[in-house]
Symmetry: C2
Subunit: 301 residues, 2 copies
DNA sequence: CATCATACATAAGGTGGCTTTATCCATCAT
DNA sequence: ATGATGGATAAAGCCACCTTATGTATGATG
């Protein structure tokens, strides 16, 4: 398609020289010496097979060939320059975040507005897929992931522990006259009893776990469903405090026991190391870390 | 004007890669290795601040940013490529020759047709200015000059000697009963008697030159005027044989004496050394030297 | 008219950007 | 499994390009 291209550096120099009608001024614009401009022009002239400039006493003028060439080059560079600038700022203008559903609905939803007010010309595109994303194959800027925090090549920032403790609606608690001790939970329906978080928590509480089947998966990222069921009074769910601080605060959920278990997982903000200085990423990181700290307290990694 | 340009080599590579949707194929087109393409793309991505390609298993795809960028780049390169090609062939398509008036009217005029038939897509622009041209400041490809032949930086090809001998119309010669010896010339009007060629020729003929004023300039390049006057029977002109071989052959002029004088000047084809291999220049040179030899005999430098 | 200032050309020399080489890794096909 | 394909990455070499330094020509200046 693009058949024969000339030496591009020479073309760039020619364009500037033609625009200024001066090698020296072109050199100034391009941040190089006059000698270098002279060199590049000569080079291009040899490639073209015709002089492009007439060397008059104290100025240079375009030859006929030069006059034919110059406008197209300037136009082409205009297009490139514009497209490049658009790509740069366009890339700045949209921040694409993938995040676990629960974090999106329970934390981001309530706080993202502040970020957008802080950065009015930065659109945020939220992607709440559950799967692990790979920055190399998906068009995503940053991710919020849950896990142990060992991802090579990625910069990660600790947000909060993925700890867990039983929660339920006040009404359900009242229905059995309140919960005095962990064993009282067994008198209520347990939501998703297969989640191994239950087993861990019961063990930590010193209770037998016979009544629970143990399934390998946990609820990371899908707690919102169970939380809704719990708020509706359908049973007891085991949830991460950080994600339900609002519900706990306004009484839609209560945490009957102080005991909180933890299996080592945490929530992290994650992005490719190489892109740590991209403005929009930096902006989001700075805001997110501050905002999380403000709502949940100092993070302890 | 052209504000911020990206690294152009990287842009060129990106364009090819985007077009092929493959780094390896792009490398093939550009005549470099796949590793180099990978390097350049990465470079550009860093400059843009966003990934341009998504690395899928066995192929690469443009990201959103890449999709925005690619079409413009392809378009711009198309413009450049076209303009460049046009400049190259355009430069090939017009040959600009400056020549001394006499050579143009007395030799080129009769032979140039053959050249144009030989090179139908090569237009010739004739410029018959008298002054010495400077290839650096004028938009000219080749020149035909008269002189001693010492021009630094220029390639020169000897065409023929700028020798001179008296010529006149047969009628004028008859009017005095024919010319037997050089002295007979003195009985006829001498055209441009101030030309020092007369002095030189008379001296060579062993005649006194008292009757001639000696002016510094000679007729090189303006012989056509005097030749016309001579053919009209107005007097005797001193002319270069090579330029009037046709007139001598068909009898419009006669050369009464074999004596030919020469002051060391000659006609030369001349062009910048650096451009000796430009096709159109090579074509003109080859043709001219052959044609001159054919009409005037083997040149003796 | 001599001197200075400007603008480009040219030669020589150094260096960093770009390329190649070599190797690794993942995926897809057989 | 095993090989083939396509890309990433690290190390190393080289050449294109730039700079420095100098020369040349011309116009401006007093």
């Amino acid at each position: 398609m693009v058949s024969q291209l000339p030496p591009l550096q020479a073309i760039r120099v020619f364009e500037a020289a033609a625009r200024h009608a001066s090698f020296t001024k072109a050199a100034g614009e391009l941040g190089m010496t006059q000698a270098a401009v002279s060199y590049q022009i000569k080079l291009l002239e040899e490639r073209v097979g015709a002089p492009l400039f007439l060397r008059k006493p104290r100025q240079v003028t375009l030859t006929e060939a030069g006059q034919r060439l110059a406008p197209s080059i300037t136009e082409a560079f205009g297009i490139i320059s514009e497209a490049y600038a658009a790509a740069r700022t366009g890339a700045e203008g949209v921040l694409c975040v993938t995040t676990i559903l629960t974090f999106a609905s329970n934390w981001l939803a309530r706080h993202l507005g502040a970020f957008q007010i802080e950065h009015p010309n930065l659109a945020v595109r939220l992607d709440t897929s559950t799967r692990l994303i790979d920055f190399a194959r998906e068009d995503v800027d940053v991710a919020i992931r849950a896990g142990p925090g060992n991802w090579p090549g990625l910069t990660k920032h600790f947000l909060f522990k993925a700890d867990f403790t039983p929660m339920l609606s006040p009404k359900l608690a009242e229905s059995i006259g309140g919960l005095k001790e962990p064993a009282d939970l067994l008198r209520l329906p347990v939501l998703d009893p297969g989640d191994y978080w239950w087993k861990e928590w019961f063990t930590a509480a010193g209770l037998p776990t016979d009544s629970l089947e143990s399934r390998p998966r946990n609820s990371l990222g899908a707690q919102a469903y169970e939380a809704n069921a719990a708020m509706a009074g359908n049973g007891v769910a085991i949830l991460t405090r950080a994600l339900f601080s609002a519900e706990l605060a306004d009484g839609r959920l209560i945490q009957p026991f102080d005991l909180v278990a933890w299996d080592g997982n945490a929530y992290w903000l994650v992005y490719p190391e190489a892109r740590r200085n991209v403005p929009k990423i930096r902006a989001f990181r700075d805001w997110l870390l501050t905002a999380v700290e403000a709502t949940l307290g100092k993070p302890e990694p």
